[in-house]
């Protein structure tokens, strides 16, 4: 490992990574071919630096700031000439984005589609967000849907779903799902649960559970039909978040807690099966944590009461046992 220090020295100052000379080592051992070595070594030694993620972050921040600014700006100075011009400019911008997307983008496919340019996804995202902002504003101004204002959210969601499927865009898909959930007045946002304002209205947790189950079912049907299989994870992720949040809220509310407990166990079983089938450990995390919360609640309601020592012992033995279980069966929990 020491020998080829001088070799890379003059090219890069910062390539002192632990695996600096690994490509050469692998090549000499015959584990990789020469053409592969040549490709990997320029990257590994830092002779070529990719700024892909830095630029993507710039674009993301750009979209974030721009759409937030526009979202406020659009409702100010209503009626003035400059305002009309800027609305017009935004419409043009949105049309421009979609013109680019339709012209450059590949035709729709049921499989995952590689973006044609590294910024393609962000152009689509910008176009979609600006379009929705302007459409929302026009509705506000001219009140086409004055009777059913929630419809705006539903239409937004449908529009996002269309864009997501047409241009194979996971980001817009998750926007579509959150918009659809918000049509049913449920929020998918961890920050909201944290501040305790989740499920303000009574029985909203029931809506969340039903929403979670039905959308997950639709997602699985779509997967069986082999339509955008790589979207399933996003669907299931949002659905399990909603389902478990709803079920746990129901559990704590009282009266029907045993029914909710059974629901939680059912959800955990489903999440566990999904995790094992897809080798996706996020669902495993949900399953274990929710099952633990449910079981702890059950014990608290039935046998374990009052004595604090018992709770300490419980946390030691339950968590200790869990850790032991995970490590014991570590091969079972391995990726691939």
């Amino acid at each position: 490992m020491e020998r080829s220090c001088q070799k890379t020295e003059n090219f890069s100052l910062d390539s002192t990574s632990m695996t600096k000379n690994t490509p050469r080592e692998l090549f000499e051992k015959g584990l990789i071919r020469e053409d592969q070595f040549n490709k990997i070594d320029v990257i590994n030694s830092g002779k070529v630096v990719s700024v892909f993620y830095e630029l993507q972050t710039l674009l993301y921040l750009g979209v974030l700031l721009f759409t937030s600014g526009v979202g406020i700006l659009i409702y100010m100075n209503i009626g003035s000439l400059g305002h009309l011009i800027s609305i017009f400019a935004l419409i043009l911008l949105s049309i421009g984005c979609f013109y680019y997307a339709f012209k450059k983008g590949v035709a729709y496919s049921n499989d995952s589609v590689k973006p044609v340019t590294p910024y393609f996804d962000y152009v689509v995202l910008l176009g979609a967000l600006v379009f929705v902002s302007v459409a929302g504003y026009l509705q506000f101004q001219f009140g086409i849907l004055n009777e059913n204002l929630e419809l705006v959210t539903l239409i937004t969601s449908v529009f996002f779903f269309y864009i997501a499927y047409r241009f194979d865009h996971l980001g817009v898909l998750s926007l579509a799902i959150t918009a659809l959930a918000s049509f049913w007045s449920v929020s998918i946002s961890p920050q909201k649960w944290y501040s305790g304002t989740f499920f303000e209205t009574a029985n909203l947790h029931v809506v969340a559970i039903i929403f979670g189950v039905s959308v997950a079912a639709i997602a699985l049907v779509l997967e069986m039909k082999r339509i955008k299989i790589h979207f399933t994870f996003t669907y299931l992720n949002f659905c399990s978040l909603l389902f478990f949040a709803g079920a746990i809220t129901g559990l704590f509310i009282g009266e029907w807690w045993f029914a909710y407990l059974l629901l939680i166990y059912g959800g955990c079983l489903f999440a566990y099966v999904m995790a094992m089938k897809r080798k996706s450990f996020l669902f495993l995390l949900y399953a274990f944590i929710c099952a633990y919360i449910g079981t702890t609640y059950l014990l608290e309601k039935t046998i374990l009461r009052d004595a604090i020592e018992i709770w300490f012992l419980y946390s030691i033995f339950s968590c200790g046992g869990f850790i032991y279980f995970i490590i014991k069966y570590k091969n079972y929990f391995k990726q691939k």
Binding site: M1, D14, T16, S17, T22, L26, I32, Q36, I40, I43, V49, S50, V51, F52, E54, L55, Q56, L59, L61, G62, L64, L65, F66, T67, S68, G69, V70, G71, I72, L125, L129, Q139, F140, L149, E150, T153, L170, G171, S174, T178, S182, S187, S189, Q191, E200, L204, F281, L284, F288, I308, F312, L313, S315, S318, C319, I326, I327, K330, F333, K334
Partner: protein
């Protein structure tokens, strides 16, 4: 002091991890990856990130049970004994971690180790500080020593951050307590000290025998750069002077050396940007971008937040424009920089990106929605964007 791990295993793990990245990018084939994994066996228990989080949470729960029981048993014995007890318990945790988990069961950053490590640090620090009656100097020095030990011995990154933080705290507190002229020169002391830390770390990074601490050194580098920038930043200096040193500014008065701090606020980020590009140093590049953003914020803070919506729109358009221009500019490789995505970053998971998009960009789709919906109106809360700027 050496780290606690087996070096062959550490190296082999690094090789396997790199090879996996190459394989996921199609640079090598599956079969080759399998061969490499066989050639470089690694006996560490190092599960994937989700299992690590699970184990971390579970370990914390279990440890809190242990701590609770101990507190019930020994809690009433009087301060001196409890303090010593904390220290002993912390030390004991370090020993268990080192000898049993790492040495015997070959855990390497498994979630269990992190939980036990932070737990041990916490008790060692509280115990020691308690014995010295929580004297601030003593607490800061204890933090620095314990965190450094944890960082060096267990190659841990979070305690590295904590160690640097304690060093900065100690430095600040020392100057602050000294009073008078020392308070005035705190920014310069910081720039000098962390400038040197940065330079020294960069030198150390070139030593081959320190390669196992490379990630720790990168963290030290980034934080020193950020501290150097913050120490010279006009906003930071001004607000800290007013809040902590009771500096009173009336009318057109400005902080001492105001001009210098204005200059530093502008020069440091661009100097970093230049170094980053010149030396192809991605770390400096990333820090410089953060610094530039904060510089803009500094000037906006004092020269008008009058129209946040216009600022947001213009800034967004600019960033998007610059991003697009650079993407086009780097269509061909220029000066060793390319726009192509060679190696997937660990955190750059597409699903994660989608989730971030849905959480941050959802707020501004329809202003109407948020005005009408009542109750759990949820996602379309509007706003939310201003605080992220």
């Amino acid at each position: 002091m050496n780290h606690a791990y087996n070096e062959v295993n550490l190296y082999n793990l690094a090789v396997i991890k790199e090879s996996k990245r190459w394989s996921s990018q199609g640079l090598i084939e599956e079969v080759q990856l399998k061969n490499i994994e066989q050639e470089y066996p690694c006996s560490f228990y190092h599960p994937n990130i989700i299992i690590r989080i699970l184990l971390f949470i579970a370990t914390l729960f279990a440890l809190s049970g242990v701590t609770g029981l101990l507190a019930l048993l020994f809690g009433k014995l009087g301060e001196g004994i409890v303090a010593t007890g904390c220290l002993m318990y912390g030390t004991f945790s370090f020993v268990i971690l080192d000898r049993v988990l790492v040495n015997q069961y070959r855990h390497y950053k498994s979630g269990v180790t992190e939980a036990l490590l932070y737990h041990a640090c916490g008790f060692a620090i509280v115990g020691l500080s308690w014995m010295a009656d929580f004297n601030t100097y003593f607490v800061l020095i204890t933090c620095l020593l314990v965190f450094s030990y944890a960082a060096v011995r267990f190659l841990d990154l979070l305690t590295t951050v904590a160690a640097i933080g304690s060093l900065a705290g100690l430095l600040f507190y020392a100057c602050y307590e000294a009073g008078g002229i020392f308070q005035q020169v705190i920014p310069f002391v910081f720039i000098l000290c962390f400038g040197s830390v940065y330079v020294i770390t960069r030198k150390l990074k070139k030593h081959n025998h320190l390669k196992f601490w490379l990630l720790n050194m990168m963290i030290v580098e980034v934080i020193s750069l950020l501290l150097v920038y913050a120490a010279g930043n006009y906003l930071v200096v001004r607000e800290l002077s007013i809040n902590l040193m009771n500096l009173e500014l009336v009318g057109g008065q400005d902080i001492p050396f105001a001009f210098l701090f204005y200059a530093l606020t502008i020069i440091v980020p661009f100097a970093l940007l230049y170094t980053g590009i010149k030396h192809k140093d991605v770390l400096a590049l990333r820090v410089s971008l953060i610094a530039i953003a904060f510089t803009v914020f500094t000037f906006k803070y004092y020269y008008g937040f009058g129209h946040p919506e216009i600022t947001l729109t213009v800034a967004g358009a600019l960033l998007f424009g610059i991003g697009m221009l650079l993407f086009n500019y780097l269509k061909k490789m220029r000066g060793g920089f390319t726009r192509e995505n060679h190696l997937a970053e660990k955190w750059a998971n597409l699903n994660l990106q989608a989730f971030v998009i849905s959480q941050t960009l959802g707020g501004n789709q329809s202003g109407v929605g948020s005005q009408i919906e009542t109750g759990g109106g949820g996602k379309f809360g509007g706003g939310g964007s201003t605080d992220s700027f």
